[in-house]
C-alpha cells in the first residue's frame, strides 16, 4: 500500500523532471510563444492590361491641290512608313507629296510648294535654309514641324565629345522665329494615361479647325512646346514635364501667331496603329486639312509654279512669229512642261486659262489691260535710230526702258497672268532666262509681283544685292547686306541663330544674303565687296573668333572702305594686340570679365538712336558668354555702349564705332544675341542704317 502511494507520488515527479528541462530551456531561450503568422497575399486577379479606346473616324476630305514638301534632307530620324498615314491623308486631299532629298536645295524646292513638313531632323538647318522657310511662310506657305522625344541624334562639342541630343534642338531654329519652340523634355502622367506613363491623354483643345471634332487624343511621348498665349492642345494638371516636373498648361501642339506654322511634340500619334486610337485619326486628318489650306502667295521667283495646270502662252505682236520669239517661247514652254504645266499657244489672252504674255515694249496691245491695272504706261519716244521707250509706273515715276525687262505677275480670282516685256527682241532671251531660273539678282523689286531688270551689259545692277525678287524693299532701298555666320560648329545649331536673327531684323528693309562659313567656307574679299555692308557674327557660340584668313580679309575690307559690324565675345582674347584688332576693331584687349548689362554711353550716336542717355540695357541669359572680353577704345573710336553697373569693369566699352574715310565699323565685344529682342532689334537696325548710309 505504502509502495503504491510512493509510486503515485514519484511518477508525476519524474514526469515533472522530464518536462522541466525543456521548459527551462524554453524559458532560457524564449520570451513567449510567437502567435500565428498572418501573411497577406496580393490579389492580382483583378488587374487588367490597359487597352486603348478605338477611334471611328472616317476621312471624307475635300479635294484641292498643292505640293507638300517633306524634308528628308536632314538625316531625319523617322521612316517613310511612319508618315504614311499623314501622307495618305494629304494625297486624298489632292495634294502632291514630294520628298526633299539629301543635297537638294531647300529654297529651290520650296518654290512650287504650298506646305512643308519637317519631322525630327538629325542634322542642323543652315541659316539660309532657316531664312528660306521663314520667307516661305511669309508668302502663305504652311509648315508642320514635328519633334519627338524618342528620336535622338549624336552631337559633338568643341572637343569632339559625343552627346545625345533629341531632335528638338535641331528643329527649334526653324520654330523660334515664329515665337514657338520645343522644350527639351517629355511629358508624363502617372495618374491617367494610355497604357504607359509617357502616353498622355489630352482633352483640352483650343477652338479651331485643327481641333474640330476632337474629344480626346493620345500622344505617345511628347515634347512640350513653349508658346505665348496658349497652345492648341494642352495637357491636364496631372501631366508633368520631365525637366522641371511642373504640371498644368503644358502645350503639346501649337500654332504660331499667323496660324501658318504648326508644331507637334509627338510623331507617334500619327503613325499606325496609334493613329487609330481615340480621335487621333481625326487629328491627323485635321493636320492634313491645315496643310491643304495653304494659300501660297507666289512671287515672280516662283515661276512657273504660280500657274495652274494649263497655261496659254501668248506671244505679243500681230506679225508672224519669227525664229527669235519662237525660241523664247519654246524655252518658256519647256520650263512650264518641266513643272507639269500643259501649254497652249494663243494669239490673245485665254480667259479659261492662266496666261503668259511675252512681248516687247513696241507692241503692248495684248497686255494693255494688264499694264493699266498695274498702273504702268509704255510710251514710245522717237530716237535717232527708231524708238526708245519710257515706262511710267504709278508711284515710282518714269523709267528709261532701254535694255530693260518688265515682269508683272497678276493673280486674281481663278486666273494668274504673267507679263514679260523686254525692250527689244535681242534682250528677250536674257529676260526669259532670268524668269526660268528665278534669278532676279540686281533687279529692282517694286513689289513682290513687279520687277524691272536691267539686261545686257548696257546697265549695271540696281544694287549689289542678291534679292530673289521676293523681298519687300523699304527703308534700305534694296541695299545688300551680307550676314556672315562665323560661329557654327559641327552639327550644332544654337550657334547659327545669331546670324539668323540679324537677318530676321534686316529682312524687311534690306536685301540680305546669309553666308555660312561652315557650309560655304571663308568668304573672299570680293564676296564682301559685293555688298554694301557686312555683319560678321562670331558671337553666339563661345570661343569662336575669326580665323587668320578671315581676319586678313576683314582687315583688307575695312582698309578699302568697307562697312562692317563685327561681334564676338573673345575676339580680343585671341587677337588682342594684333594689327587686325588695332586696325579693324580699334580696341585694346584688357582682360575678361562678367558682362550682365550695358549702359548707353553716347546717346547722340546714330547707333544709339531710340535709347536714352545712360539707359541700362539688361542682357538675357547671363550675357550669353562667360567672361567676355574687357576692352578699351583706341583714339578715334566712339564708345556707344559701355559695360553696365552690375558687370565687371563697368564703364569700359562694349560697343565701339568709328568711321574713317568711307569705312565705318561697329565692334561689339560680346554676343549681340544676348541683348533683349527689343534692344537687339534697335541696335541691328541702327547699325544697318548707319553702315548703309
Amino acid at each position: 500500500m505504502k509502495g503504491r502511494r510512493t509510486l503515485g507520488l514519484l511518477i508525476p515527479l519524474l514526469l515533472l523532471v522530464l518536462a522541466a528541462v525543456p521548459a527551462a530551456r524554453f524559458l532560457w531561450y524564449y520570451r513567449g510563444m510567437p502567435g500565428p503568422r498572418d501573411v497577406p497575399q496580393p490579389d492580382l486577379s483583378r488587374l487588367a492590361v490597359p487597352t486603348p479606346g478605338a477611334g471611328a473616324y472616317v476621312d471624307r476630305p475635300a479635294v484641292g491641290r498643292g505640293l507638300v514638301l517633306v524634308d528628308r534632307a536632314h538625316e531625319n530620324l523617322y521612316s517613310a512608313t511612319e508618315l504614311s498615314v499623314l501622307t495618305a491623308r494629304l494625297t486624298a486631299r489632292g495634294l502632291t507629296v514630294r520628298e526633299l532629298a539629301a543635297g537638294d536645295d531647300l529654297e529651290q524646292a520650296l518654290r512650287p510648294a504650298s506646305a512643308l513638313i519637317v519631322v525630327a531632323p538629325g542634322r542642323a538647318f543652315t541659316p539660309q535654309e532657316i531664312a528660306a522657310v521663314r520667307r516661305f511662310v511669309d508668302r502663305g506657305g504652311r509648315a508642320l514641324l514635328v519633334a519627338d522625344p524618342t528620336r535622338y541624334t549624336v552631337l559633338y562639342d568643341d572637343y569632339g565629345e559625343a552627346a545625345f541630343a533629341d531632335t528638338a534642338v535641331l528643329i527649334n531654329p526653324l520654330a523660334t522665329p515664329f515665337g514657338l519652340s520645343f522644350e527639351d523634355d517629355y511629358l508624363y502622367n502617372v495618374v491617367r494615361h494610355e497604357g504607359n506613363y509617357q502616353n498622355i491623354l489630352l482633352r483640352d483643345f483650343a477652338a479651331g479647325a485643327l481641333t474640330a471634332g476632337l474629344a480626346e487624343v493620345a500622344f505617345y511621348a511628347t515634347h512640350s512646346i513653349h508658346v505665348a498665349g496658349g497652345g492648341l492642345i494642352v495637357a491636364d494638371a496631372d501631366t508633368h514635364s520631365s525637366t522641371d516636373e511642373l504640371g498644368g498648361e503644358l502645350a503639346v501642339a501649337a500654332l504660331d501667331g499667323t496660324g501658318k506654322v504648326l508644331l507637334l511634340g509627338d510623331l507617334t500619334f500619327m503613325t499606325s496603329p496609334y493613329a487609330g486610337v481615340l480621335d487621333n485619326g481625326r487629328l491627323v486628318a485635321n493636320v492634313a486639312d491645315f496643310l491643304a489650306a495653304a494659300e501660297r502667295r507666289y512671287g515672280l521667283a516662283d515661276f512657273p509654279y504660280f500657274f495652274g495646270d494649263e497655261v496659254a502662252l501668248v506671244p505679243s505682236g500681230g506679225s508672224p512669229l519669227g525664229a527669235g520669239p519662237i525660241a523664247d517661247s519654246g524655252a518658256l514652254q519647256a520650263a512650264l512642261q518641266a513643272a507639269d504645266r500643259r501649254t497652249v499657244v494663243r494669239a490673245a489672252a485665254d480667259p479659261a486659262r492662266d496666261n503668259l504674255f511675252v512681248g516687247v515694249f513696241s507692241d503692248t496691245a495684248a497686255v494693255a489691260d494688264a499694264l493699266e491695272a498695274a498702273g504702268i504706261a509704255v510710251q514710245a519716244v522717237e530716237a535717232e535710230e527708231g524708238f526708245s521707250y519710257t515706262l511710267t509706273i504709278s508711284g515710282t515715276g518714269a523709267v528709261d526702258g532701254t535694255d530693260l525687262a518688265l515682269f508683272l505677275l497678276q493673280q486674281g480670282g481663278d486666273q494668274t497672268n504673267l507679263t514679260l516685256l523686254a525692250d527689244r527682241g535681242e534682250t528677250m532671251p536674257e529676260a526669259v532666262q532670268r524668269l526660268t531660273e528665278g534669278n532676279f539678282s540686281g533687279c529692282l523689286a517694286l513689289s513682290e509681283t513687279l520687277l524691272l531688270c536691267a539686261l545686257g551689259e548696257g546697265r549695271g545692277g540696281w544694287d549689289g544685292g542678291g534679292d530673289d525678287g521676293g523681298g519687300e524693299d523699304g527703308a534700305g532701298d534694296g541695299a545688300g547686306i551680307l550676314v556672315v555666320s562665323d560661329d557654327e560648329l559641327y552639327m550644332t545649331t544654337d550657334c547659327s541663330v545669331g546670324a539668323y536673327y540679324y537677318e530676321l531684323f534686316l529682312y524687311a528693309d534690306y536685301t540680305v544674303e546669309l553666308w555660312s562659313v561652315y557650309d560655304q567656307g571663308n568668304p573672299t574679299l570680293e564676296d564682301l565687296r559685293q555688298h554694301v555692308a557686312v555683319f560678321w557674327v562670331a558671337g553666339t557660340c563661345a570661343g569662336v573668333v575669326p580665323s587668320a584668313e578671315n581676319a586678313e580679309t576683314l582687315r583688307s575690307y575695312v582698309a578699302g572702305g568697307g562697312r562692317l559690324l563685327l561681334e564676338g565675345a573673345y575676339i580680343g582674347t585671341d587677337w588682342g594686340g594684333s594689327d587686325f584688332y588695332t586696325e579693324v576693331c580699334r580696341a585694346e584687349y584688357l582682360g575678361n570679365g562678367e558682362l550682365l548689362d550695358l549702359a548707353v554711353a553716347d546717346a547722340g550716336h546714330p547707333l544709339a538712336q531710340g535709347w536714352a542717355k545712360e539707359q541700362t540695357l539688361t542682357l538675357v541669359d547671363g550675357g550669353g558668354a562667360d567672361q567676355p572680353d574687357v576692352v578699351g577704345a583706341l583714339a578715334g573710336a566712339a564708345v556707344v555702349l559701355a559695360r553696365g553697373p552690375t558687370s565687371a569693369e563697368p564703364g569700359t566699352p562694349a560697343v565701339i564705332a568709328y568711321e574713317e574715310g568711307d569705312a565705318r565699323v561697329v565692334y561689339a565685344a560680346f554676343p549681340l544675341f544676348s541683348l533683349s529682342e527689343e534692344d537687339l532689334d534697335t541696335l541691328i537696325r541702327n547699325a544697318a542704317a548707319w553702315l548703309v548710309d
Binding site: 510563444m33 510567437p34 497575399q41 545625345f164 502617372v190 504607359n196
Partner: protein
C-alpha cells in the same frame, strides 16, 4: 557477501532506484529538449547582387535552408540590389512570403533596394534601412521585341509565334506588371504606406530617411537592429546569429560564390547588351557624367 549481491541490494534500495529514475528522466528531458528544441538562431542571409536566375536561385536555396532549419527562428535578409529579371524578383517575393508564414523575416537595406530589390524586400515583415540607402524605383523596364515580319524562309503557325506579341501589346502588358508590382507592395505594406500608388508609379528612388517617412521602410537602423527586431518578433530571449551562406558552404549545400559589392553590379552586370528581350524590375544606375 558477494559484490553482486551488494550491488543488487544497493539497487533494490528505493532511494537509489528513485534517484536513478530521476536522473534518467532528467537525461531524457535534456535529450528531448535538445532534439526538439535546439538553441534558437537568427539567420542572416546576404543578397548583394542583381537578380538574375542564378543569383535568385542562390538566394532561394538560402531561404529554403532557413525555412527548414528548426533552430532558425527568424531571418534577416540583407538586401543590396538594383533588382533584375522580373520573374526572378517575383519568385523571391513569394518565397519570402512563404517563409514569413513560419518565421519572421526582416530586411535590412544597407545601400540599395531598388525595383526588383525592393519588390522582394517588400515581402518582409519589416524593413530597416540606413539613412543614406536608396529605396524604391518601383516599376518595369524592358527591351522591346523586334517588330514582327514575315519572310519566305521562316514559317510560323501564328502571327506572334516568333515574336510573342506586338510592341504595343508588349508595352501594355508592361503596364500590367507595374500594377502587379504595386499591388504586391501594397498588399504587404498596407496602411504603413503614406504615399499613393500614383506617386510610387513615378519610379523614384528615395533615401532611407525619406523612405521611412513614406512608409516604404519601417525604421532606420543597422544590421544589429534588424537582427534584434527579428529575434524579438520570434520571441527569442537568447539566440545566436548564423551566416546561412557560410554554414551551407561549410556543409557542401551551397557552392561558394564571390559576393559582388555595390556598385559593381550596377556598372558591370547591368549593361543593356546583355539583356534578353523581356521585362525587368531593374534600376540601371547612370554612369557618372554619362549622357542622359
Amino acid at each position: 557477501m558477494p559484490v553482486r549481491d551488494s550491488i543488487g541490494i544497493f539497487f533494490r534500495r528505493p532511494a537509489v532506484l528513485w534517484a536513478l529514475l530521476f536522473l534518467a528522466a532528467l537525461g531524457l528531458g535534456v535529450a528531448a529538449s535538445f532534439l526538439w528544441m535546439p538553441a534558437p538562431r537568427v539567420a542572416v542571409i546576404r543578397f548583394n547582387d542583381t537578380i538574375w536566375s542564378d543569383t535568385a536561385a542562390n538566394l532561394e536555396a538560402q531561404l529554403r535552408y532557413a525555412e527548414d532549419d528548426p533552430s532558425i527562428r527568424a531571418v534577416v535578409v540583407e538586401v543590396d540590389s538594383p533588382g533584375g529579371e522580373a520573374a526572378a524578383s517575383e519568385r523571391l517575393y513569394f518565397d519570402i512570403l512563404r517563409l514569413r508564414e513560419r518565421k519572421p523575416v526582416v530586411v535590412m537595406v544597407n545601400t540599395l533596394a531598388a525595383s526588383g530589390g525592393y519588390y522582394l524586400a517588400s515581402a518582409a515583415d519589416l524593413i530597416y534601412a540606413t539613412p543614406s540607402s536608396s529605396i524604391g524605383n518601383i516599376g518595369v523596364i524592358a527591351q522591346a521585341p523586334e517588330a514582327s515580319f514575315v519572310v519566305e524562309e521562316y514559317l510560323f503557325t501564328g502571327p506572334f509565334k516568333a515574336f510573342g506579341n506586338t510592341r504595343d501589346s508588349f508595352t501594355r502588358q508592361m503596364e500590367l506588371l507595374k500594377d502587379s508590382f504595386l499591388a504586391c507592395v501594397f498588399a504587404q505594406r498596407g496602411d504603413r504606406l503614406r504615399v499613393d500608388a500614383d506617386t510610387l508609379s513615378r519610379g523614384e528612388l528615395y533615401v532611407g530617411t525619406v523612405a521611412v517617412q513614406m512608409g516604404l521602410a519601417d525604421a532606420l537602423g543597422a544590421r544589429g537592429d534588424a537582427v534584434g527586431r527579428a529575434a524579438e518578433m520570434a520571441g527569442l530571449a537568447r539566440y545566436a546569429e548564423v551566416d546561412v551562406a557560410a554554414e551551407m558552404v561549410g556543409r557542401g549545400a551551397l557552392a561558394p560564390t564571390p559576393t559582388p559589392t555595390y556598385p559593381e553590379y550596377a556598372y558591370e552586370r547591368v549593361q543593356q547588351p546583355s539583356w534578353a528581350p523581356g521585362y525587368y524590375y531593374l534600376y540601371v544606375a547612370p554612369r557618372a557624367g554619362g549622357a542622359r
